[in-house]
Symmetry: C2
């Protein structure tokens, strides 16, 4: 436990990666949890639905937790909470939009009646144990985002969450520079700041810069017009709807999360849709193609997403044709390039015009602060200590260098990784140890039962396939009673490989007849039919096919 | 068969994709094969080593083939030839460097003593059946690259291969603009042109522009200096070596293909290495770290590549440390971003400075012509007909639009796809049919035995894993003689799931006792123990885990 005059800083996710943000602050014997996000699977985690942070450390200290404070409503900041919260419990704090989205999640998990959610007001401090917390409005690609000023007797920490400095946001709620300036004057002991766009020079392009782009592009469309964007980007959706009205198109919302998020945002007043603008998907047929604009999810080319089905001609209501236009008002998220391009190629093949950030960069703006915005944050808050958050290692290192350029003492900038435990005192910040941390895989109904061993098996199966050999042996004599059965998946096409499989069975029978020595087993190894069959098949497939399938012997004793 | 006054154009690879280039031209009863490249696997083709074009069409017409002409030595243009050639045979034509690389491949495949390879000279026409072929020197990211002017009684086709227009290449061998100009004046019936960089505005940056960049960057390095680049980019390697000499570092070559390609290029005079410059990897220890520059393969973060092992600390000779520098003088090839960033993050984590095209774009130049170069090609050759090649559908469509802007009649521009069969006559170009085409997977020693079904199995296994259930039944009575055996991979961690697996066995036994009706089998389906066990397990895992593993029943009849 920390001394009473020190603050513990323990990131459990989001440092060294983009996603899965979870930061723990400790003072005295109390812990405050900031954000609780998920990460999406990648080719190294086949079959996994979601990835959440390992919260063993929190579970072991559940009685110390004073609350969960959420900076904003993106999946990589709140998505893991419904999975993690039942083991920990404790009140959840956030802005109206963030809680609106969280309530939907907790409802789906049947947890809504158990949880306490407290809506916070900007600038109004509230106390959680030793932590006095003020929410400070910031601009980001989701409305109602906040930085957190967290004050303890030691001093004030500013945790930015995700932010950019947009002076003219669509909804008229700019980053609260005045509160940041006040904090800087009062004294910020440590700044923990969003590193995502550290490698991008310049200042933020305002979300409003897209308005004229949309109006020009939409006016050019002649047939059906599809606009794909992130369903959480309410300001973007607002702009699409405004431009649709300008060009005289009705709006259709497509995608489950699009409908859900729009409903929450409208109910809270973050999204204004003029009357007679929305058309239900099922009523599309009543309008001419050139009178409709569809706002859709699926901008990342996610398999089974509605947009992928539209491109493949598998969508029931939405059918595209030559002369239609598709606009991707979204980022090519790193790792998704291949699926996005594949989707775009399909639309292009069918004669559609496709607009995206690679052929028209002004069709999207980022939600994260580039270098000059990051400098402004450092200049306003004048922190004594600095810890970069929300980024891969290369982002964190660069951001730390920037902080030093901006006047943070070199010894006062600290690059941390998930699981590090840092101790912040009035005059020192250093890593003093580590806590359990890692990734937990959600697969179907299972949380955590698919671990690294299961994933390694899946990857091995996908690379090399599997051979199962069944031996029926006499319990007493160990004699083989029947010709071995062989089953393969992912190795060869069985219907076309009967000869090869018969040879493989011969190889097993021969090996069993020759005994362990012939396969280089030593006497000490005491190899039985199971081991002999396995080694014989491994060698057979290596020699004949140059492949290394997983070979699994099953012995049935009769 | 085509009429004697028409030319057949049949792409078997490379159209609608980047990679696997193979074009067939037919005149009368003769076929000419231009390039024979491979593609690299992606997450949709797990375990596959290489992908080559399906050449069933060529095999069925092998007696019509007059020869294989190669434009240049990149894998996506020559890499499939050793796999495809044995079934087809016929002489192979190419420039010195291209044949130098091909010979290495044919030697590895034990084919060198069977094959006829003919080295061609630029500008000197040679006749293959009805085709008169002239090689025209072009600049590209591999030396000794060529465009092909293919003349038949119908007229001349210009097949550009991969090219850019670099007026000051490192080796002093610029694109032969004069030959292209002559062709344009004589009359080009059809141009088939490289579309890779159609979406990039402007003109080529010369390869030589990198010289001062290297000198400045290398001069800044204080510790060990690693430079990763493509082993086929001989001009780049030449520049790295020149800059190494300027900054006073000895050069170490690292990676199998780096050593092989450098040997070929030196033997042919394409690469000049001053005496006392090269140091063997095993002798590295004799030199101070700051006196060495390592040129390495692995710039794409390929698993098991030497560079990945260096980053992981698993390389025997090369150990990096804080203060060293890594330079990626290479492209982030689409699809490889994730592995490249992961490699970079590892180096950054260990305190190395890492330079790459995302933080210093001038550290690499592309080998493909951007828009203004493509216009120059169209302007010089003034083709009557135009077919874009070497690109995804979005590239091909854009390039066709550019050709029309440059004066090609809209009806004379044709976007083709793999397997299309187009007929070119003096006044018409149209698609008239299709031929068999597709992808063939090379996996270990097998070529083509891993097909779509095996891949589907591999992907299913990797997503959901596999359950094998073994039933021992009495041959006569169909009675179960033993408790079922269950084996899983990639579903759950077996050691921690014994209870669950016992329940699964119970579910099978119960289902078998209750009979087919209880599982909604109709009488007509005649479900036996195999079908009952399979359906029972599918339902069990769906209900308990929300997962859909492949369930494979194996029935042993005693």
């Amino acid at each position: 436990m920390a001394s009473t005059m020190a603050l513990e800083i323990i990131p459990l996710g989001g440092l060294g990666e983009i996603g899965m943000n979870l930061m723990v602050y400790g003072y005295g014997d109390k812990l405050l949890v900031v954000d609780c996000g998920l990460a999406f699977p990648n080719p190294d985690t086949p079959g996994v639905d979601l990835i959440i942070p390992d919260t063993q450390f929190l579970a072991e200290n559940r009685d110390r937790i004073v609350g969960f404070v959420m900076t904003h409503g993106h999946e990589d900041h709140i998505g893991a909470l419904p999975y993690i919260w039942p083991d920990l419990e404790g009140p959840i704090y956030g802005t109206a939009m963030t809680l609106g989205l969280l309530k939907g999640k907790f409802r789906e998990h049947n947890l809504l009646n158990r949880v306490t959610m407290v809506q916070v007001n900007y600038r109004q401090a509230f106390q959680l144990g030793p932590f006095s917390i003020r929410y400070i409005q910031v601009t980001h690609s989701i409305v109602d985002s906040a930085a957190l000023a967290i004050t303890t007797p030691l001093g004030t920490i500013l945790h930015t969450g995700d932010f950019k400095i947009d002076h003219t946001p669509v909804g008229g709620r700019p980053t609260d520079l005045h509160s940041l300036a006040h904090l800087g004057e009062e004294g910020v002991l440590a700044l923990l700041s969003d590193s995502t766009n550290i490698n991008r020079p310049g200042v933020t392009t305002s979300e409003q810069a897209i308005t004229p782009v949309f109006e020009t592009v939409f006016a050019r469309a002649r047939g059906l017009l599809l606009v794909a964007t992130f369903s959480s980007n309410i300001e973007r959706i607002q702009q699409i709807i405004r431009a649709a009205v300008v060009v005289g198109r009705k709006v259709v919302l497509n995608g489950r999360s699009m409908l859900a998020n729009v409903a929450v945002a409208r109910a809270l007043g973050f999204l204004i849709i003029p009357p007679d603008t929305l058309v239900e998907l099922r009523d599309m047929g009543r309008y001419p193609r050139e009178g409709l604009l569809i706002i859709s999810t699926g901008s990342q080319g996610e398999p089974n997403s509605s947009l992928v089905r539209i491109a493949a001609g598998d969508h029931r209501e939405i059918v595209v044709q030559e002369g239609d236009m598709v606009v991707f008002s979204s980022k090519f998220i790193p790792g998704n390039e291949r699926t996005i391009w594949s989707l775009i190629n399909q639309f292009v093949r069918d004669g559609l015009e496709v607009i995206h950030e690679k052929n028209m960069p002004e069709i999207h703006v980022s939600g994260h602060a580039p270098q000059e915005d990051l400098k402004l944050m450092l200049a306003l808050t004048k922190p004594k200590f600095f810890i970069p958050i929300h980024g891969e290692m290369r982002h964190l290192r660069s951001h730390c260098q920037l902080a030093v350029q901006m006047g943070v003492a070199p010894a006062n900038g600290l690059v941390m990784e998930n699981g590090d435990r840092a101790l912040l005192e009035a005059d020192a910040l250093k890593i003093v140890g580590s806590v359990p941390h890692g990734r937990v895989f959600v697969d179907g109904k299972g949380v955590g039962d698919v671990g690294d061993i299961v994933l390694r098996d899946r990857l091995h199966l996908s690379e090399d396939g599997l051979v199962v050999v069944v031996l029926v042996v006499d319990k007493g004599s160990n004699q083989i009673l029947q010709r071995p059965e062989l089953l393969t998946r992912g190795v060869v096409y069985e219907d076309g490989s009967q000869g090869l499989l018969a040879e493989a069975k011969d190889a097993v029978e021969n090996a069993l007849a020759l005994g362990p020595k012939a396969l280089d087993f030593s006497d000490e190894e005491g190899a039985g039919p199971r081991e002999i069959a396995q080694r014989a098949l491994r060698r057979f497939f290596k020699k004949r096919l140059g492949r290394r399938p997983a070979v699994i012997p099953l012995v049935m004793e009769m």
